[in-house]
């Protein structure tokens, strides 16, 4: 029992040893792959697309041709290799270079105005239009009968011609 146990544990140690070596190899092998393939240009660009560099105003980082932007893309690559996530990288850029690197202002403080203002004005517009349309309802029943007068004469001609036509087609 004892012996058996000992043999087993020796076997076990050996196994663990081999597994460890194998794992180490795997890891280093993986690292080699990572250095070649990860991150690809496309992966870098996917993040760069959402960033704006102050050197080229209003052009996303992934397509900006300046040297400064090329360096920024290299920085993204560096951080990705170090295992940073997209949000971490973006946060790093904000801390380094300010809010202007983001494609839209972060929703906090005064910046809420960016997002609130358009809907508020639009709702205001809807209210104005609604008030105008409400006037209709009051009078529409009475007016609806004779409101054709202003209609396009030509359109009416066509409508009439079409009606005649449709009737003929129905008959035949």
């Amino acid at each position: 029992m004892n012996y058996k146990n000992k043999a087993f544990s020796r076997y076990k140690i050996r196994l663990i040893f081999f597994v460890l070596i194998f794992l180490l190899l795997m890891i280093s092998f993986n690292n080699v792959i990572a250095q070649n393939d990860f991150p690809t240009d496309d992966q870098v660009n996917a993040i760069a697309k959402e960033l704006y560099c102050p050197v080229c105003e209003n052009i996303p980082l992934d397509v900006c041709p300046t040297q400064a932007c090329a360096q920024w893309r290299a920085l993204i690559k560096e951080k990705m290799t170090a295992g940073w996530t997209k949000d971490e990288i973006k946060q790093y850029f904000v801390e380094q270079y300010g809010d202007r690197v983001l494609a839209q202002p972060p929703a906090r403080g005064l910046n809420w105005l960016v997002y609130i203002m358009p809907p508020v004005v639009f709702v205001g517009g809807i209210v104005v239009v609604y008030l105008n349309l409400k006037k209709i309802k009051k009078s529409s029943e009475k007016v609806i009968q004779d409101s054709n007068i202003n209609n396009d004469k030509y359109l009416k001609e066509i409508e009439e011609a079409l009606n005649v036509l449709n009737k003929k087609e129905d008959l035949s």
């Binding site: 494609a103 202002p105 203002m117 358009p118 517009g125 239009v129």
Partner: protein, 689 residues
């Protein structure tokens, strides 16, 4: 002494236009026709005078007179002739002269028309046009004189001045600095004049609107008189915007056509309010509604034109397109302030008189749908305006610079644009005055079935993007409705008069140009919507570094790098040009040549993509980087832009539609009113009871 001639005629134009203002004011105050007539003739003079100025500049540019600062700044000896001529609008000073010249041309054109019925409007139209012209002339003469030259003083110092300082000599630089290479593109040669044409011709409807507002005329004469102007202005602005997008697509080399850049927005905003105006004037013509709203819209449009020009030229907002900073900013600011305040003041003064003559009668009537259309256009305008201005607000209150970029605009304006497309499908079928669900449904069901079939086809073919499904279905509804309308009219004519279908279609369109021209424009918008949906929602891209013989693949295309060469070209460029062979599913499709041009005179690089265009998609390749010495490997960025060409097709169709809609009908224009002769005899401008 060409510079002196050009400058002299600038100064004379200024004096003449100031005279026009004064004379028109006197004529209006004293109700005397002869003063107004004198003002009109003065305004007529401005065009030939400014033409002299423009010709002087062009000759200086073509003759390479580099002693003139403007010529030195925008041309160089390596530039071809057509670029030297178009360098007229390549810089700040020249483009201001060009602006003023167009303003004079339009002012002239407008005063040449028959004024019989509308003499009371004439003095104010002259005043508004001349004031705008005077403002631009003062800016040119005081701050941006294109004729100033380089001089050496006897003391040895150098300076730029209009006239020779005592004892000084002209300096003749050997060569100029050359036009910004970004601007050396066919699109950039036509794009600014189109935009300016659009901008300047919107001044005319505004002048008429203000004239009506000031004189207190309540009828819709000003709208009828300027209908065609508005349409033409709108067309030029549209062409300008489309060419600008095309230029960005071809030259800026970032695979897109529109970046929501402040300067792009500056040109887009008057287009939005102008488009709303174009629709809403029809309600006033047909139903006498929305008089105030139309005034507001025309004032908005003019203000946005001036504001846009201000944004581009003052350096308030930074942008790739912006002109170099100059002293005209404060001047512009004062002009903007005054014109805004004066317009608003008159609007408020006449507010009560401008009430609607009719009343809206039905929720589904054409006018209600137009009202919603206006709401959507103004909604988009507010979003664009806010996004453009917000970075300034942020900097003012928090000291923090921010970017308001495409994600903001796309998510906020996207639904509004879809709403507009939907209206485009419904509104043409609704009647003025009233429509009911029943009448509307009767007309709508055939096109609607067409759209539903398309939706099913899209779903079956594997399209899963919600945005694309909604967008394409709604766009197709608008297209089917428009085609259906043509079909109905054509069929009716055919049955009634026995004309064959083509003749029927032709006569239908010719007899009712405004309506069917409008429909053609609607169709063009559908085309553009398809292009935009294609590139916005289905664009794919990949980037990679490849050695000769290696390839990248994207969307079924395989791009193989053959070789790369670097060489100098006679016109002052260093070119790095890659040769790539393209194949799709094993079939050879020829070669593409993305390149990088480096301009020695301005020390600026340019990335010119290699593009293969078809109806269904574009393959768009940019040369990102390469090995300088060995040219063994290069990095390429490949974009696949589905359907993008529909955007440009739509642009062509838009021009066709605008021409149909704006083509004058000769028989209607002639109105024999003898009042003019009468007025000439009495000498009174307006016969007041």
């Amino acid at each position: 002494m060409l510079p002196n001639l050009g400058y002299g005629s600038l100064v004379i134009t200024l004096i003449v236009s100031i005279y026009a203002i004064v004379s028109a004011v006197i004529g209006e105050r004293k109700n005397l026709y002869k003063y107004v007539e004198s003002a009109r003739l003065a305004l007529l003079l401005t065009f030939p005078l400014l033409t002299l100025t423009v010709i002087s500049i062009v000759i200086l540019l073509v003759n390479q007179n580099y002693e003139v600062q403007y010529v030195y700044n925008v041309t160089s000896s390596t530039m071809p002739l057509y670029l030297k001529v178009t360098a007229l609008w390549g810089g700040q000073a020249g483009s201001l002269v060009f602006w003023a010249w167009l303003m004079a041309a339009f002012g002239t054109a407008v005063t040449l028309r028959k004024w019989d019925r509308d003499l009371d409007l004439l003095p104010w139209v002259i005043i508004v046009s001349s004031v705008t012209l005077v403002f631009f002339l003062i800016m040119i003469i005081a701050f941006e004189n294109p004729f100033i030259r380089f001089w050496t003083l006897p003391s040895g110092g150098e300076l730029v001045a209009m006239f020779a300082p005592a004892g000084s000599q002209l300096i003749h630089p050997f060569d100029g600095r050359g036009l910004n290479p970004l601007l050396r593109h066919p699109g950039m040669i036509i794009h600014p004049p189109m935009l300016y044409l659009g901008f300047v011709s919107f001044v005319i409807p505004y002048a008429f609107g203000m004239a009506a507002l000031i004189t207190g005329r309540k009828d819709d004469r000003w709208i009828r008189l300027t209908r065609r102007w508005t349409l033409v202005a709108w067309m030029f602005l549209s062409i300008g915007l489309i060419l600008g997008s095309r230029w960005a697509y071809d030259v800026l080399g970032w695979g897109g056509y529109w970046a929501w850049d402040p300067v792009e927005n500056a040109a887009f905003m008057p287009w939005l309010s102008g488009t709303a105006f174009l629709h809403s004037v029809m309600i006033q013509e047909k139903r006498g509604l929305f008089k105030r709203w139309n005034m507001i819209l025309v004032i908005f449009t003019y203000s946005l034109v001036i504001f846009g020009t201000f944004l581009t030229r003052s350096g308030v907002l930074s942008s790739v397109h912006a002109f170099a900073q100059s002293a005209i900013g404060p001047m512009f600011f004062i002009f903007i302030g005054l014109s805004f305040i004066i317009s608003l003041a008159f609007l408020i003064k006449r507010w009560d008189e401008l009430r609607s003559e009719g009343i809206m009668t039905s929720l589904l009537s054409r006018e209600s749908l137009f009202l919603i259309n206006n709401l959507l256009f103004i909604g988009i305008l507010v979003v664009v305006f806010w996004g453009t201005v917000y970075p300034l607000i942020s900097e003012l209150f928090t000291g923090q610079k921010v970017t308001v970029g495409p994600p903001f605009y796309n998510s906020t304006t996207g639904p509004l644009f879809v709403g507009l497309l939907l209206l485009m499908g419904i509104a043409p079928l609704s009647a003025w005055g009233h429509s009911t669900w029943k009448t509307l449904g009767k007309a709508l069901w055939i096109p609607a079935i067409g759209s539903l079939i398309l939706l099913v086809v899209l779903l079956v073919s594997g399209v899963r993007s919600i945005g694309a499904l909604i967008g394409l279905t709604v766009a197709s509804l608008a297209a089917f409705v428009t085609i259906y309308e043509f079909w109905r009219g054509m069929k009716a004519r055919h049955k009634r008069s026995g004309e064959n279908y083509l003749v029927a279609l032709w006569k239908l369109t010719v007899r009712n140009r405004r309506r069917y021209g409008g429909y053609v424009i609607h169709l063009s918008v559908v085309f553009m919507a398809i292009g935009i949906i294609g590139i916005e929602l289905f664009q794919t891209e990949t980037q990679g570094r490849i050695a000769p013989g290696e390839s990248l693949s994207l969307a079924g295309y395989t791009v193989t790098f053959k070789n790369l060469a670097e060489f100098d070209v006679a016109d002052g460029r260093n070119v790095a040009r890659a040769v790539l062979s393209v194949s799709k599913n094993g079939k050879d499709l020829g070669e593409l040549y993305p390149r990088r041009d480096f301009y020695y005179d301005s020390q600026q690089p340019m990335t010119i993509p290699g593009v293969r265009s078809t109806v269904e998609d574009d393959l768009y390749i940019i040369l990102v980087n390469w090995e300088q010495i060995s040219s063994m490997g290069a990095t390429f960025k490949v974009f696949h832009n589905p359907l993008i060409n529909w955007l440009w097709y739509g642009g062509f169709l838009l021009v066709v539609g605008s021409f149909i809609a704006a083509w004058p009908d000769p028989e209607k224009e002639i109105e024999l009113v003898p009042s003019r002769i009468l007025r000439k005899e009495t000498g009174k401008l307006v016969s007041k009871p």
